[in-house]
């Protein structure tokens, strides 16, 4: 490649498009469809205040006469038409789903971020230092892994709720929930990062960094961390689907978010109450949204795992 000059160097966008990962994404129908579905839901959730036909939490925009409007049919009293119908208070189901997905995704992303930060930090330290700290962390991880994570999230949430004064319980619920879900899932990250760190720390580039006297923290963050991030991303994607499901489950059980901050799980809980009186749409559409979100993120995670692991190809 003697005729390769710096001017020929493609820009970052071009290089990203040509990368193995992007190629694998473009040629996998499952990844493409899941990617589109997940992106649509995330965009809808982020832009909810702009694109939702109503703000379901602003009483001024609600009309009780609109209550129980079936999907795509004009209301008997007001003649208004709603794509996905309305609930008992006349809230547009489509809008509540957008706002609900917003809450679900916020809790999901925040919980994953928390679990990831905690797991990576502890995993790096355990793998790099070894010794009693490593032994202790891995024993804790062993024990924690024997419990299903959704049960742990529920138990941590219940215990934490007990410790918070009654006056703050509603307001703190979302943060307690994030911490509970995050704490139930950090082990995965810690284990993978610890294992990778133990391999990486004996490689030459780390030894070289040590020889020139780099601070251990700098070696961990600047040199080892970027090399262990691949598997972490896979776990984080699947973890996002799990966190969304965990949050929905807890909110459905009535021990998650308060009704003033409804997530998709809360909406399904509300919808279940109207099933017996025939208003199926209040339940069906939030359930479909949750399923589409969880399934697409899950499939994306599966694809990412296969794409980043050349041995599986």
């Amino acid at each position: 490649m003697s005729d390769f000059t710096p001017e020929d160097r493609p820009n970052a966008l071009r290089r990203a498009w040509d990368s193995d990962l992007a190629y694998s994404f473009r040629t996998s129908p499952v990844a493409l469809v899941s990617g589109v579905v997940a992106t649509l839901i995330i965009l809808g959730a982020v832009l909810a205040p702009l694109i939702a036909p109503h703000n379901p939490f602003d009483p001024a925009t609600l009309n009780l006469m609109d209550g129980f409007t079936p999907p795509m049919e004009p209301n008997a009293f007001t003649g208004n038409v709603y794509w996905l119908g309305t609930d008992n208070q006349g809230r547009d189901v489509f809008s509540t789903i957008l706002y609900g997905a917003r809450t679900s995704l916020f809790v999901g992303f925040a919980a994953v971020l928390f679990a990831m930060t905690l797991g990576i930090t502890l995993g790096l330290i355990a793998g790099f230092r070894g010794g009693w700290l490593d032994g202790l962390l891995m024993r804790v991880a062993d024990v924690q892994l024997t419990f299903p994570s959704i049960l742990l999230a529920l138990l941590i949430f219940g215990v934490a709720r007990g410790f918070i004064p009654a006056a703050y319980r509603e307001a703190m619920a979302i943060w307690v929930l994030i911490v509970a879900i995050g704490l139930s899932d950090w082990v995965q990250y810690a284990r993978v990062v610890r294992g990778a760190t133990m391999v990486e720390k004996n490689k030459e580039y780390v030894q070289a960094a040590r020889v020139i006297g780099a601070h251990p923290v700098k070696i961990l963050v600047r040199h080892i961390l970027p090399n262990v991030m691949g598997p972490v991303l896979v776990i984080a994607t699947i973890g996002l689907a799990l966190a969304i499901i965990a949050e929905a489950t807890l909110s459905f059980l009535g021990v998650g978010l308060p009704p003033t901050q409804p997530s998709l799980g809360t909406l399904i809980r509300i919808g279940q109450g109207f099933l017996f009186s025939g208003e199926w749409w209040i339940l069906a559409f939030p359930s479909a949204a949750l399923l589409a979100l969880a399934l697409s993120v899950n499939l994306l995670g599966d694809w990412l795992r296969d794409a980043l692991n050349p041995r599986l190809r």
């Binding site: 024997t146 419990f147 299903p148 049960l151 929905a248 489950t249 017996f276 339940l283 399923l291």
Partner: protein, 327 residues
């Protein structure tokens, strides 16, 4: 062997102690037990007397040891909400949970093994493909959504099965069973499917993968060369060898079934321990939460201990490896 068992025992006791410490801290620091037990008219002297009687004037560690002593005697305190002994309340609700867990566990194991063997033997059949696709959806659906959808289809639209409760129950000694009445058995169907579906798909996929692996081995080829019937090869040789990991995983999943019973019981208003716990969390009924925490931890610790010991009994290689490593 003895050292291994001892180490596992010590670890289990440690886990239980940590859980007990959390339960006790919950008990001790959430709210004021004296205030919740006494009325507003109580005088300061009365409060101090009660505090001394309950041992709350003792140092933290003394109280903790006291607490462990009481727990070992089966005394978990009195529910704030229902004003009855927690141990009694839990014992009343335990049969409902155990019956549900038992039925869905057995159904998941039997159906899971049967479907796993079928899909492994007919890899390319359309029915196998259909089963595998449905199982993928079964794994992705959250448990509570499965329950809600089943209620929608079978209780609301078709009206074949009841959507909540346990039906009529028969009291036999301290055990309240739903097995003996028609309505009790019918009421069990939907919750059992909801609870067992995830385990079923898990066991099915595991059996399928193990079967496919075993069917490729030399001793299966040799059995075929000997002219044994397909039936003898598939069930006598192949299935037998897949069952060790399957039984282990199923054993470990027992704990999960009891954990997921929380969700199923709440969806179907099943009067078991799980729904009771959810209500305790909702109303911050601390003694119930603490007792449930201990109970669930005990179940998991015991199951894991048994499975670990079974490994030793079942797989002699483990024993040799450990023994060799010590020298």
């Amino acid at each position: 062997m003895t050292a291994f068992i001892l180490r596992r025992l010590v670890q289990s006791v440690l886990v239980m102690l940590v859980v007990a410490l959390i339960s006790f801290a919950l008990f001790r620091f959430v709210g004021d037990p004296v205030a919740s037990l006494m009325g507003q008219e109580a005088t300061a002297a009365d409060r101090d007397a009660l505090r001394a009687r309950l041992g709350l004037d003792q140092p933290f560690w003394m109280q903790f040891i006291d607490y462990i002593g009481r727990v070992l005697r089966g005394d978990f305190g009195i529910s704030y909400r229902l004003q009855q002994p927690v141990a009694e309340l839990i014992l009343q609700r335990l049969p409902a949970t155990l019956e549900l867990a038992l039925v869905s566990g057995i159904a998941a194991f039997v159906l899971g093994v049967a479907l796993g063997v079928y899909t492994a033997l007919n890899r390319r059949g359309w029915l196998s493909n259909a089963i595998m696709t449905v199982s993928l959806i079964g794994v992705s659906l959250p448990t509570f959504l499965i329950g809600v959808l089943l209620i929608w289809v079978f209780a609301v639209e078709l009206q074949w099965l009841p959507s909540f409760g346990r039906g009529e129950v028969v009291q036999i000694g301290g055990w309240r069973t739903g097995f003996l009445t028609e309505s009790g058995r019918v009421a069990l169907i939907l919750p059992a499917i909801t609870l067992g579906l995830y385990q079923l798909t898990l066991i099915m996929r595991l059996v399928r993968a193990e079967m496919l692996e075993v069917l490729r081995t030399d001793y299966i080829k040799f059995a075929r060369a000997r002219g044994l019937s397909n039936r003898a090869i598939h069930f006598g040789h192949a299935l037998k060898n897949t069952l060790v990991p399957v039984i282990t995983i199923t054993g470990l999943q027992l704990g999960s079934i009891i954990a997921f019973a929380i969700i199923t019981e709440t969806v179907f208003q099943w009067p078991g321990v799980g729904a009771f716990f959810i209500n305790a969390v909702r109303f911050v009924d601390v003694p119930v939460m603490a007792a449930y925490l201990m109970l669930i931890a005990l179940i998991f610790v015991v199951i894991n201990l048994i499975v670990d010991l079974l490994y030793y009994v079942v797989d002699p290689r483990l024993r040799v490896d450990r023994g060799a490593a010590r020298h």
